[in-house]
């Protein structure tokens, strides 16, 4: 009886997972299809990968996306991390309000954020392009980093920092010697998450990008809408591989985090 039950539940898990991977698998398979239309299989080819590499507008979109993700993540990592450290350590009246407001960009539907930025940036007369993209992406990247770092900070015994102060470290030294190394894994995983979100974002970029600046998701979006070229399949496959690499890296980071730090309970023991 019990054995059969286990079997059924595993079967269900497998079924849902297959559904999850089926569309992804389609994209990968058809990127190797030697046919212009992706209806039937016409043999294996790498042609689309070559075409993709020579498609300059596609490559430019890729470059834009990476520049955008890297710069907005770098800015958010700094603001989010020191913001979390500051907020966890002190207590002032508007703290709760600030925290809620800082989380808003990932709480409200993306489309609202996109609309808000479009209206606000044109109100400010900012030229739409890379700068508006970076500002918008930084706004929604901060909460991811902030929340992950804050979660980690709450788990760190406050007296560890106090011990450093007690032993002669200035506030500044304490931050760099103790706080930062202890939250580094959280900063890394938060930033990776934000990076993935930035690289993936269609909705917000759609509103705040200029006519001249395409990001990869926007490019893919318009290509899919216009009618499909198998180059897109190839590019999507490349992005999948890229994402897998990112996940592997973040898995590594997660592992070292486990080895290097102690939870509060362990310390009490």
């Amino acid at each position: 009886m019990k054995q059969r039950k286990m079997h059924l539940s595993s079967l269900y898990l497998a079924f849902v997972l297959v559904l999850m991977y089926l569309p992804v698998l389609m994209v990968v398979i058809y990127s190797f299809n030697d046919s212009k239309s992706d209806v039937s299989w016409a043999g294996f080819t790498l042609e689309w990968y070559g075409k993709m590499l020579h498609n300059s507008s596609l490559m430019e979109a890729l470059r834009n996306s990476i520049v955008l993700a890297v710069s907005s993540c770098a800015i958010s990592a700094v603001i989010g991390t020191i913001g979390a450290v500051g907020l966890v350590r002190c207590n002032f009246k508007t703290k709760g309000l600030l925290e809620n407001a800082a989380m808003l960009p990932i709480m409200i539907p993306e489309i609202i954020l996109g609309m808000v930025f479009l209206a606000f940036f044109s109100f400010l007369n900012l030229p739409f392009g890379m700068m508006t993209l970076i500002l918008a992406h930084t706004t929604f990247c901060i909460p991811y980093i902030f929340i992950v770092v804050k979660g980690r900070l709450v788990g760190i015994d406050k007296s560890i920092g106090e011990a450093a102060r007690d032993l002669g470290a200035s506030e500044f030294r304490m931050f760099f010697d103790i706080t930062l190394p202890l939250v580094a894994p959280a900063v890394a995983s938060g930033t990776l998450l934000a990076f993935a979100m930035s690289l993936d974002d269609v909705v917000i970029s759609f509103f705040v990008t200029g006519a001249q600046t395409n990001t990869l998701p926007i490019k893919i979006y318009s290509q899919i809408k216009l009618g499909v070229s198998p180059e897109i399949n190839a590019l999507c496959t490349v992005m999948l591989v890229f994402t897998f690499i990112l996940i592997l890296i973040s898995g590594r980071v997660g592992k070292t985090r486990k080895n290097r730090t102690i939870s509060k309970e362990e310390q009490r023991r």
């Binding site: 106090e162 011990a163 450093a164 102060r165 007690d166």
Partner: protein, 356 residues
């Protein structure tokens, strides 16, 4: 004046409207082992954090070596702390933990190495310098915390319930080691505990704290034998409190009326008037019984239960007014049975008057 290494002058502290410390003052002498004893929430940890510089008092001053350090940053104070959970840096190995304060002071590397290894030897952790904190047992972590805190030879070492997380046997052993270490290093120890036995075993002086105030400051013997307040009497050892009015005075002895029954107590220098209200305590080990009342001693009680606790017999009595009285004695024979009616009795000197 120069004898006092640390002085607290009229310190008060509030946390969001709650008074945690109420105008406390204390002088601590160089080389002293002084213990703050009190239950959790009495303000002892706050006092320690104010001395360490981790909190700033609302009013009052902290003088270290005669110098006002009230507003000094914790890193500028010649005071080090051993935290309750050790607070070892989880990302540094034992060597780097202990060496941290020397590195901050830019001590040359060879000297750091020499001093750290010496100290690790002293705390019996030679050979552990490469270990990470999560690879150490509770006792070993404790020793690292000690080494890390004393490596700079601070004027005062603050210890916040350092043995609280250890099991009983290890705690006893560490108590002795700490005491020995304090003698060796000659550092003033300011020790916090809620364990009265620990306080009595280790300290030169005990500060009994309750509700943000000092109830009594004195040697272990003073605090134990001559509690000044009913709180101290109850907190240090097991004491029975009696509240009554002075009936008559016979020289050093006072006969106290306890609701119709009477008992005798030594005045201990108090100038009583007949009719005055008075509270005294009798430690459980001084509480005895007899079968017949005497002229001034006629406290009736019934035996509720006998139990054997830690090498002692503990007898619980109940007085007619419902109050419970506890007596302890060595051995395993209680000599009384549950339900038996007896009369309580003690040597007059064993009764100590406390503040109302």
């Amino acid at each position: 004046m120069s004898e006092n290494i640390l002085e607290l002058c009229h310190i008060s502290k509030q946390f969001s409207g709650t008074e945690v410390l109420k105008d406390i003052s204390l002088e601590i002498r160089k080389g002293e082992f002084i213990t703050f004893l009190g239950s959790s929430g009495c303000g002892k940890t706050t006092t320690l954090r104010i001395i360490a510089g981790l909190e700033t008092p609302d009013t009052g001053k902290v003088l270290l070596n005669g110098k006002d350090v009230t507003d000094e940053e914790p890193n500028k104070r010649d005071v080090n702390t051993i935290f309750q959970n050790y607070a070892l840096f989880p990302h540094m190995n034992v060597f780097n933990n202990v060496a941290y304060s020397l590195k901050l002071r830019r001590v040359p590397k060879p000297e750091i190495k020499k001093r750290v290894l010496e100290l690790l030897e002293l705390v019996q952790l030679a050979g552990f310098e490469k270990r990470m904190p999560n690879e150490l047992s509770g006792g070993q972590k404790q020793r690292v915390a000690i080494a890390r805190a004393v490596i700079n030879n601070p004027s005062v070492l603050l210890l916040d319930e350092p043995l609280g997380a250890l099991d009983l046997q290890l705690r006893r052993q560490m108590q002795q080691e700490l005491k020995k270490l304090q003698k060796q290093l000659g550092i003033t120890f300011l020790y916090i505990t809620h364990d009265q036995e620990e306080a009595i075993n280790m300290s030169d002086r005990i500060v009994v704290m309750n509700d943000g105030q000092f109830e009594q400051v004195g040697t272990p013997a003073e605090v134990y034998d001559h509690p000044k307040t009913s709180f101290v009497a109850k907190f240090v050892g097991t004491a029975n409190l009696f509240e009554g009015t002075v009936k008559e005075l016979n020289g050093e002895q006072a006969v106290i009326d306890l609701g119709g029954e009477t008992a005798v107590a030594h005045t201990g220098g108090h100038a009583f008037q007949p009719g005055q209200k008075a509270v005294f305590c009798v430690k459980s080990e001084n509480m005895t019984v007899r079968e017949e009342p005497s002229e001034h001693f006629n406290l009736k009680a019934t035996v509720v239960e006998n139990s054997y606790v830690g090498g002692m017999i503990r007898i619980v009595f109940q007085r007619p007014n419902g109050e419970q009285v506890i007596s302890t004695k060595h051995g395993i024979h209680a000599n009384v049975d549950a339900g038996q009616a007896v009369y309580l009795c003690w040597k007059p000197e064993a009764a100590v008057f406390v503040d109302l």
